[in-house]
């Protein structure tokens, strides 16, 4: 712009051809970048204009209308963490109840609601949303873009998720909480055995969260394919971004199945269809197929982003690029595919044909291969590096230990005879908590410690962080390790109490004590967070000396992310870039303009104007919520409820004349010189 340099028209070449090509596996030497704030000082007018263009409107209205990926991402993360706390409290209540035999702290009905709400909350309102939320915040920064694609859709996805979560908790408080387990098997959840509205609310919650997941997956795929910094070809994107890409594709294929499942369940209950009614040609096994064809990939939808956290944290704390980038990418993709071929291993006790079951045993064991490749790549990276055990790295170590243990019991259960023995016992509970807490929650906490300085601009305390880790790690193992033994001794899942003569009291008490430690660990994290907000050390742009682009801007990042969006000359950009690596200029600062690049090579292609803040996503989400909730009470709500949704969507889509007029005519009518354009102009004006 003001500073004239050789211009590129973006028709090719771009940044990629410039600069020496750097070896991808050379140990990183942090190139000292000047602080990002210096650029804002150098161009104060542009900084101010961009802040105004990309920032939220002031006040509460601005909060409601926000379409900035960081504002939405932040509240998405906080909301998901809030649900994590709720789910954790429910877990603690269960552990109090089970601490001794024949306890009467909770009655059986409330206990059923609590374990259902715990599972539903952790899976649908915490684990999947929090992974999407982190991606919504981080991906645009990591690929050097100013925004996520379809920012208003992003806001809609958040609101729908929030309203769904609020709905189910209101129902729970009013004693209409679901009570049929997080996978709500028919016939228990069918009209005959679960009259009332409890399961209907559960089914609608599923609908809410899958709508949210699907729209977020859409925007993440478009973001990753089309908004990357010039030069960031597909073989250079950070592994975390690859993980999110695989996650988003898995959502595309998994979520529609559960959408269908929840819709058919609710129609069986409300308008007397017979999908799951064997008396009229239906089959409860169909429910199990539909649910688990979603439910198993769901585990990987949670686990794969977590491996992305691990792949982001390790190189930073061992001071070298990741070993086996391609092997890791291929493992992610392979996990994504194989993850869809395992669902029947949840149904071994439902009596499928022997041959079919053997296939799923084999597929289940096969998924160990890509997981193993990943683990070994990480181990080699650590081995060849100089590890620094800060808190994020400790959580990664906790992940290794716990996840490998959970993986082992997973392989054990792939064997049908063993599965028949331990099915529906605490062994399974132990297994999936090892996999989910070890495989997803520990990396997530590592990610909180790793990126919190970027989110807030202040460091979390290392001392409290270490305390946090050890409390959680010890508490977790004390809680769940005894459950293996309890399961082998035959203690079934989902019982609200047990008899003293079973001799399960000691191990259950240990598990409950562990839960207390685990809770304490989470409390330390919350204390650490609030303490760091007040007195934390200022983080600076890149406190860990990391290699990815989110560390090339200020902490917290400005509304527009990068004053001059970066270009990329290799993997681990900040470690390998030459000092004269080009930057992007010429994006307008008075409208939300972003650079769109080509899918494979990320060469500049065109610029696109993103919408300004608006209330329509919120209105649409409210209309959708009204439709979903009313349809629990009358099926006709699906008909008349769709009218407000349609109106809101049209309002959302309707272009603002003012916006178009403010733009210079040549932009309103591009392709100047072409006769066609002239014809259009005559027709329109």
């Amino acid at each position: 712009m003001r500073r004239r340099k050789k211009k590129e028209d973006g028709k090719g070449k771009g940044a990629r051809a410039k600069g020496p090509r750097l070896g991808d596996d050379k140990p990183g030497e942090a190139v000292t970048r000047p602080p990002a704030a210096a650029l804002a000082e150098e161009f104060p007018d542009e900084h101010k204009a961009l802040e105004k263009t990309w920032g939220d409107k002031p006040g509460f209205w601005g909060w409601l209308t926000s379409a900035n990926h960081k504002s939405i991402g932040r509240r998405f993360i906080i909301t998901a963490f809030g649900f994590f706390i709720f789910g954790g409290i429910l877990a603690a209540l269960m552990r109090i109840q089970l601490a001794r035999p024949e306890n009467n702290f909770l009655g059986p009905d409330l206990y059923n609601q609590i374990f259902t709400m715990h599972g539903t909350t952790m899976m649908f309102l915490f684990a999947v949303p929090v992974m999407e939320a982190m991606a919504v915040y981080l991906v645009p920064l990591m690929i050097g873009s100013r925004s996520v694609a379809f920012p208003r859709l992003n806001a809609f996805g958040y609101w729908v998720y929030l309203f769904g979560g609020v709905m189910i908790y209101v129902a729970f408080i009013l004693n209409v909480g679901p009570d049929t387990g997080w996978f709500s098997y028919v016939p228990l959840s069918g009209p005959e055995y679960s009259p009332g509205k409890r399961v209907d609310f559960w089914a609608q919650l599923i609908t809410f969260t899958e709508v949210s997941a699907l729209v977020v997956a859409t925007e993440l795929i478009a973001t990753i394919f089309k908004l990357r910094a010039p030069g960031m070809s597909l073989n250079r994107i950070p592994l975390y971004v690859w993980a999110i890409l695989v996650m988003a594709f898995m959502i595309f294929f998994a979520m529609p199945t559960v959408a269908l499942a929840s819709v058919t369940l609710i129609t069986d209950r409300l308008v007397s269809t017979h999908f799951f009614n064997p008396a009229e040609g239906g089959d409860p096994i169909l429910w199990q197929h539909l649910f688990w064809f979603f439910g198993h990939p769901e585990v990987y939808i949670i686990f794969i982003p977590a491996t992305g956290f691990v792949s982001a944290i390790i190189p930073t704390f061992v001071r070298r690029p990741i070993f086996g980038y391609k092997a890791l990418v291929l493992s992610l993709v392979a996990t994504g595919f194989i993850g869809f071929g395992l669902w029947v291993h949840h149904m071994f006790t439902a009596g499928r044909p022997r041959m079919g079951e053997s296939f799923f045993t084999a597929a289940t064991m096969m998924i160990v291969i890509p997981s193993g490749v990943q683990i070994f790549c990480w181990i080699v990276t650590i081995w060849r590096g100089r590890p620094v055990f800060k808190t994020p790295m400790l959580f990664v170590m906790g992940f290794f230990f716990t996840f490998v243990m959970g993986g082992m019991t997973g392989v054990m259960q792939a064997s049908i005879p063993l599965d028949l023995q331990v099915h529906d016992t605490y062994f399974v509970v132990a297994h999936f908590h090892y996999v989910l807490i070890g495989g997803a929650l520990f990396p997530l906490f590592g990610a909180f410690y790793y990126w919190m300085p970027k989110f807030t601009g202040r460091m979390l305390s290392e001392r409290l962080g270490k305390l946090n880790f050890w409390l959680m790690f010890a508490g977790f193992n004390l809680t769940f390790f005894p459950m293996h033994q309890l399961g082998l001794e035959g203690m079934p899942r989902r019982v609200y109490t047990y008899l003293p003569g079973m001799n399960w009291g000691g191990l259950n008490l240990a598990a409950s004590a562990g839960a207390a430690l685990l809770t304490l660990g989470v409390l330390v994290f919350i204390v650490n967070f609030f303490k760091s907000r007040r007195t934390g050390e200022p983080a600076g742009d890149n406190p860990w000396g990391a290699s990815t682009l989110e560390w090339a801007t200020t902490s917290p990042p400005p509304a527009y992310n990068f004053l001059r969006p970066p270009t990329v000359a290799g993997r681990d950009t900040l470690w390998t870039e030459p000092p004269d690596q080009p930057e992007i200029v010429g994006l307008r600062s008075d409208v939300r303009q972003v650079l769109v690049t080509k899918m494979l090579d990320a060469e500049p292609d065109h610029v696109e104007e993103f919408p300004s803040p608006t209330v329509w996503p919120l209105v649409t989400a409210l209309a959708t919520t009204a439709l979903f909730i009313c349809s629990v009470f009358t099926p006709w709500a699906v008909v008349w409820g769709s009218i407000p949704v349609a109106v809101a969507l049209i309002g959302w889509f309707w272009p603002k004349k003012r916006d178009a007029e403010e733009r210079p005519p040549e932009e309103v009518m591009e392709r100047a010189g072409e006769e066609a354009a002239l014809r259009v102009a005559e027709g329109a004006l």
Binding site: K18, F252, G282
Partner: protein, 201 residues
Amino acid sequence: MSARRTIDVSKLPTYAFGHRQLTWWATWSIILMEGTMLVVFLISYFFLRTRVPTWPPGGTNAPDLLWGTVNTVILLASVVPNQLAKKAAERLDLRGVRVWMIVTLAFAVAFAVVRVFEFGALNVRWDTNAYGSIVWANMVFHTTHLLTDMVDTAVLVLLMFTGPIEGKRFVDVSENSIYWDFVVVIWLLVYAVIYIAPRVL
């Protein structure tokens, strides 16, 4: 900072057609997820088929062929104006877009009207048996897509008369055409399963 070179992108075009632009990816995302849903619906149909000895189950007749076949013809014919609208959009021909979108919309409305008769000729209610449930589920699934794209097309037609006309509007028309093609393709699958399968299984 002064060591940094710059790349000026201010002269790049402000919109593009096809896979170069974001909306194309969103359109195909929806096609992918809705397509998955349809495939699972169809698999459920055949799964339920295996639960009973005869299909349709005893006492139920297969749907009458007439209206469904009429609709298949209408929908296949609509591909032509739909493609012409897409081509017109890609050469920024406003008049062509208006004409061909209205024609496509007329086909959609005709289809929706015949759809009412189709529901009457299914010869089964959703609450008769599991066969009826899955037949209705497939039909309602397709009708929902039909109606949403119909409203979408109507809004776009309206915008093409009221303005403001911008490059991106033409991109929207082009994307809308892709989605309409999807509605046509999934109908062929649904038609084959709902109308033909009970006669040959």
